[in-house]
């Protein structure tokens, strides 16, 4: 090798390339040969190749093949079917089909993308003829539809053939045969004759009758008899309908003992039934309506006739032993007693009616009509009165139970906070517990006693009318005397536990009171629910929000302090506590561990101010109150106010200090948290979008084609159901602040799941093949990843790229500038070291967040367009990852870095 120079070798390379290939006439060689020959004009330009690329063929050959295909298909073929049959591209097939049509004279037609020969039409005519002979008549439209030909074309094909190939006639788009015509004529003749010729009625009736009934009048009689037996009456009309002449006579003959009325024939049983009803009413000095007692089918006149037949009614009018009475409005039988009672009532309401009508008849009739309505109203009113009393009692009992439960929960909540808030100070602990027992404890005991009193009242007065008024009495505190009175009224088994609970009020042990209360409530038959941890957390959060709101509105320094200290206790210890003024100092001292020292100092100073101000009985402490409020509550309104203040300011130094204050407030405000959360959720939304785009891309026609052609090169990507159905809703919920812990758990699980795989793959690649890991995956793991990243990404590469960019002659296109090696990464890597060890976390995290945002905006402009969708997705992924990590850092600002930090160590050493 040493003796040969590079130049020689280059020449040798050249010559090696120039030597002719050994001529193995493979397919490709032949291809090249053919194309050469075509270029040289030896073959002419009319050379085609088949779809599979295995055959060459000339235009003439193709044309003959087209004609052959038409013949084979029976004279009719679609041009689009030709490529599959002949193996030649559709364009060429179409061209040759057109050429064949123009060259064939009229024997071949091209109709709507189909080639049709004359022979086909001949066959068609024969087929149509067969059809016609069978059916007699055929519509042209139907034929056209059947053979999928245009109506005009069908007309043109069939028209000339009618008469010889098709034996029939064509008229108005209808093909018909002579036989069909004669059949129609015969039908018409028959119809006309039937319409004009006379016919005898009697035979017709006979015919119809025998056709319908079969058995004649016998069955009609049977039907009447059955109806009468079942219902106790039969109408003459029905009898006539059954075909029996002389209904009355017939019925009287058929059913002796029956009663003939105006419109119906009634059995004696029915009359007896009516009579029984009437008699019963009359015996009880009431009234009866015969129309209601008799079947509804009977006319009112018949009902009246039935009523008259009753012996009891006859007695009424006859003023017998029943005491008299009257038959009113035909069907109403009313006793004299009833009449007299009603008459009295009506006379009472409408004195002017008295004496009207014959013997006060008008009043009686009115009364009879009014009475049922009046009775109904009375019933309803009675029911309403009863149920109203029960409702009021139940509501009162439930209110007492709910008040007891609420007071009990509050008591537990606050009791949990006693120990942490006192922070080991025994005196403070006692003071807190006593305050709690006196306040919330007393409230709970009062609620219990009220409940028990309500229960006892219910037992004493089940009718309910007496205690209903007491439901509205105010629920003020009970005095000791009242308590004793209620205790005295309790049953023996409830009295002892309740007395114990009342006794516990005197002590300073919140836990003992809680136990005694639970026992007393159990004895009273009420189960109190222990406070669950989750419920406790929710209650603490709600109370904190309420406290913060109250503090916002509070103007008095002392009251503000009383609100602020429980709020701080809740924030620092996670428990609520009722803090009496005496224990404030101890509680504030106990807060020192969980607050920034500056804020704690401000709080202590404020407390001192308030104490001295109260001692001096004068106003003051306003300034530190304001400071405290800034420390404790950072509201959006304040941020806005500061922003306005800043805009109004003109001095540079002033602006800087105000901007810093604004920034501090903004980053720990709830709005900033929400924005940070949204940024993190954006990352997950982008993940899902990525997965969806991949799926969509794999389902584009192009990728489907690829997959079909190279199955081993492409992978199957399923639809991201998990992402769309679980991750996306969770991200939305977390961004909106709904059920954040649950949603965040879902998101972090997804993160571990998806990122874990990619990080593992990257690490494996690094370990096995020394492949550079993808910076995106590393950044996902943590910001610490940036260190590893830059160690692996050599610094030289970044420098080289910068140099290349700087020395590029032409301005590079936006998307050509690859941002993977941007310099911001170096700064991030440098900052990641102190951040990882928790040194000056606050400042470093702020800077890092800023750098990440800067990188996202400067290096990953996801909003510009890129030539491929996947590069676009990649850039968007970078953008969202940066935003997400920045959001996490902002959140870290407000949540804090935790206890394993250098900052915390330093702080411990200092104290």
């Amino acid at each position: 090798m040493e003796d040969v120079s590079v130049e020689d070798l280059l020449k040798e390379l050249q010559s090696a390339q120039e030597t002719k290939s050994s001529a193995r006439l493979s397919e490709r060689n032949v291809v090249e040969l053919i194309s050469k020959l075509q270029e040289l004009g030896f073959l002419g330009s009319d050379l085609l190749h088949s779809i599979n690329g295995r055959e060459y063929l000339t235009l003439e050959h193709l044309r003959s093949e087209v004609l052959q295909a038409v013949e084979q298909a029976g004279g009719r073929i679609a041009v689009v079917d030709l490529p599959a049959l002949l193996g030649v591209d559709l364009v060429h097939c179409e061209r040759q089909a057109a050429a064949a049509v123009s060259g064939s004279g009229a024997s071949l037609q091209a109709v709507q993308g189909e080639l049709i020969t004359q022979g086909y039409f001949d066959n068609l005519a024969a087929e149509i003829n067969e059809l016609l002979q069978e059916a007699g008549v055929v519509a042209m439209g139907e034929l056209a539809r059947r053979y999928a030909l245009g109506a005009e074309l069908m007309q043109a094909a069939v028209g000339p053939r009618v008469g010889h190939a098709i034996r029939g006639r064509l008229e108005g788009g209808l093909l018909y045969t002579a036989a069909y015509l004669s059949r129609i004529k015969a039908q018409l003749r028959g119809a006309l004759r039937g319409a004009a010729a006379p016919v005898m009625l009697a035979p017709l009736v006979k015919e119809l009758d025998s056709g319908m009934g079969g058995g004649g009048g016998g069955s009609g009689r049977g039907a009447v008899a059955t109806f009468y037996a079942q219902n106790g009456f039969v109408e003459y009309e029905a009898v006539r309908r059954a075909g029996i002449p002389g209904a009355r006579a017939h019925l009287a003959a058929a059913f002796p003992g029956g009663i003939a009325l105006d419109s119906a024939f009634v059995a004696p049983e029915l009359a007896a039934q009516v009579e029984a009803g009437v008699e019963e009413a009359l015996d009880s000095a009431g009234w009866a309506d015969a129309a209601a007692l008799a079947p509804a089918a009977l006319s009112p006149a018949d009902a009246a006739a039935l009523l008259e037949r009753c012996p009891a009614v006859r007695r009424l009018s006859g003023k017998g032993d029943a005491g008299g009475g009257a038959v009113l409005a035909g069907t109403w039988a009313v006793t004299a007693a009833c009449l007299a009672a009603l008459q009295g009532k009506v006379a009472q309401w409408l004195p002017e009616v008295e004496g009207a009508g014959e013997a006060g008849a008008l009043a009686s009739v009115l009364a009879a009509l009014l009475r049922p309505g009046a009775l109904r109203v009375y019933d309803e009113a009675l029911a309403a009165v009863f149920s109203a009393g029960a409702d009021a009692r139940r509501r009162r009992r439930e209110a007492a139970a709910a008040a007891l439960q609420a007071a009990w929960e509050r008591l537990q909540l606050l009791a949990a906070g006693v120990a942490p808030a006192a922070a080991g100070d025994a005196a403070a602990s006692t003071a807190l517990a006593r305050h709690l027992v006196r306040g919330e404890g007393e409230e709970a005991v009062n609620a219990l006693l009220r409940y028990q009193a309500a229960m006892r009242d219910d037992e004493d007065a089940p009718e309910g009318q007496g205690t209903a008024g007491r439901a509205t009495e105010p629920l003020g505190p009970l005095s000791a005397g009242e308590r004793a009175a209620i205790l005295g009224g309790l049953p023996q088994d409830e009295r002892a536990p309740a007395a114990a609970a009342v006794g516990a009020l005197g002590g300073a042990d919140a836990e003992a009171l809680i136990e005694a209360l639970a026992e007393a409530a159990g004895a009273a038959g009420l189960r109190l629910r222990r406070l669950e941890r989750r419920a406790e957390r929710a209650a603490v959060a709600a109370r904190r929000a309420a406290l913060a709101e109250a503090l916002e509105r509070e103007g008095d320094p002392a009251a503000a302090l009383a609100l602020a200290v429980p709020l701080l206790v809740a924030r620092v210890h996670g428990h609520l506590a009722a803090v009496p003024g005496r224990a404030l100092g101890a509680v504030i001292a106990g807060l020192a561990g969980g607050m920034p020292p500056a804020a704690h100092a401000a709080l202590a100073a404020f407390h001192a101010d308030v104490v001295s101000a109260l001692r001096a009985a004068s106003g003051g402490g306003g300034a530190s109150h304001r400071a405290l409020r800034e420390q404790v509550v950072l509201s959006q309104a304040q941020v806005h106010a500061l922003g306005r203040d800043l805009a109004a300011s003109s001095d540079a130094q002033d602006v800087a200090s105000k901007a810093m204050a604004l920034w501090r407030q903004a980053e720990s405000s709830t709005a900033a948290r929400a924005v940070a959360r949204a940024m993190i959720c954006l990352f997950f939304a982008n993940e899902v979008l990525d997965a969806y785009q991949k799926w969509q891309h794999m389902n584009t026609p192009e990728m489907k084609l690829r997959r079909a052609t190279y199955p081993h090169r492409t992978i199957h990507i399923p639809f991201p159901y998990l992402g769309v159905c679980v991750v996306l809703p969770a991200a939305a919920a977390a961004a909106a602040g709904v059920r954040v812990p649950a949603a965040a758990s879902v998101l972090s699980t997804e993160m571990l799941w998806s990122s874990g795989a990619s990080i593992w793959a990257q690490l494996a690649g690094l370990w096995r093949h020394r492949q550079r890991p993808d910076e995106l995956a590393i950044k996902r793991l943590a910001m610490l990843g940036a260190v590893v990243l830059v160690l692996v990404h050599s610094l030289r590469r970044i420098a080289l790229r910068d140099w290349a960019l700087a020395s590029a002659h032409k301005p590079a296109e936006a998307w050509l500038r690859d941002a993977h090696d941007n310099n911001l990464l170096l700064l991030q890597a440098v900052l990641a070291v102190p951040f990882a060890f928790g040194y000056r976390t606050a400042a470093v995290a702020r800077l890092l967040a800023l750098l990440l945002l800067l990188e996202a905006v400067v290096c990953w402009p996801a909003w510009t367009t890129y030539p491929t969708w996947h590069y676009q997705a990649h850039v968007r992924s970078h953008f969202c990852t940066n935003l997400g990590v920045a959001g996490g850092l902002v959140l870290l600002q407000s949540v804090g870095a935790g206890s394993f930090t250098v900052d915390r160590l330093l702080q411990k050493k200092a104290t």
Binding site: L9, A16, R28, H49
Partner: protein, 165 residues
């Protein structure tokens, strides 16, 4: 080598391995390396000619840092020809050269910005494993040839390119 067909694997085995571990910045050793590269290429081209599967021409500049040539692929009886070029990277032979086909830039997804072809996932690990024994000839055989075989039919099917003649 799951990605390459058996023919490619056979061919790669017959291209001589290189021995000098040296990039273009070291003048003396680079001359040795360049000679080895050229020898391997000549061998590869001769193999191609012998089996009648010649598919590219290539030339280098005097320093051997910039290479260019033409490659072609026959699809459906039509010859598709492209000019390609690449530079020897500074970290060669640890890093494989990035072959560019500028005229196809933006026409296919399997390409980085600037026209560098997007090689299969197996190429880079294999190259790293075989450094410094792989050279330009291997890059052509394992990189460009399979890329053409996969992409040209697709490009033709999607209508992105058409044969010139």
């Amino acid at each position: 080598m799951a990605e390459w067909d058996s023919g490619t694997k056979e061919t790669v085995k017959r291209i001589p391995f290189l021995t000098v571990r040296c990039g273009p910045r070291d003048k003396e050793d680079w001359a040795k390396r360049l000679k080895e590269e050229l020898t391997a290429l000549i061998k590869y081209i001769q193999l191609n000619k012998a089996s009648d599967s010649d598919w590219f021409t290539i030339t280098a500049n005097k320093e051997g840092t910039h290479w260019s040539g033409k490659c072609w692929y026959v699809h459906e009886l039509l010859r598709h020809e492209f000019a390609f070029e690449f530079d020897i990277p500074a970290t060669y032979p640890a890093t494989a050269p990035e072959i560019r086909i500028p005229e196809l830039d933006g026409k296919t997804a399997k390409m980085y910005r600037g026209g560098a072809i997007c090689l299969t996932v197996h190429f880079k690990p294999l190259w790293t494993k075989n450094s410094p024994h792989f050279g330009v000839a291997h890059a052509m055989c394992l990189g460009l040839a399979p890329w053409l075989a996969a992409e040209v039919p697709h490009l033709v099917e999607t209508g992105a390119i058409a044969a010139k003649a």
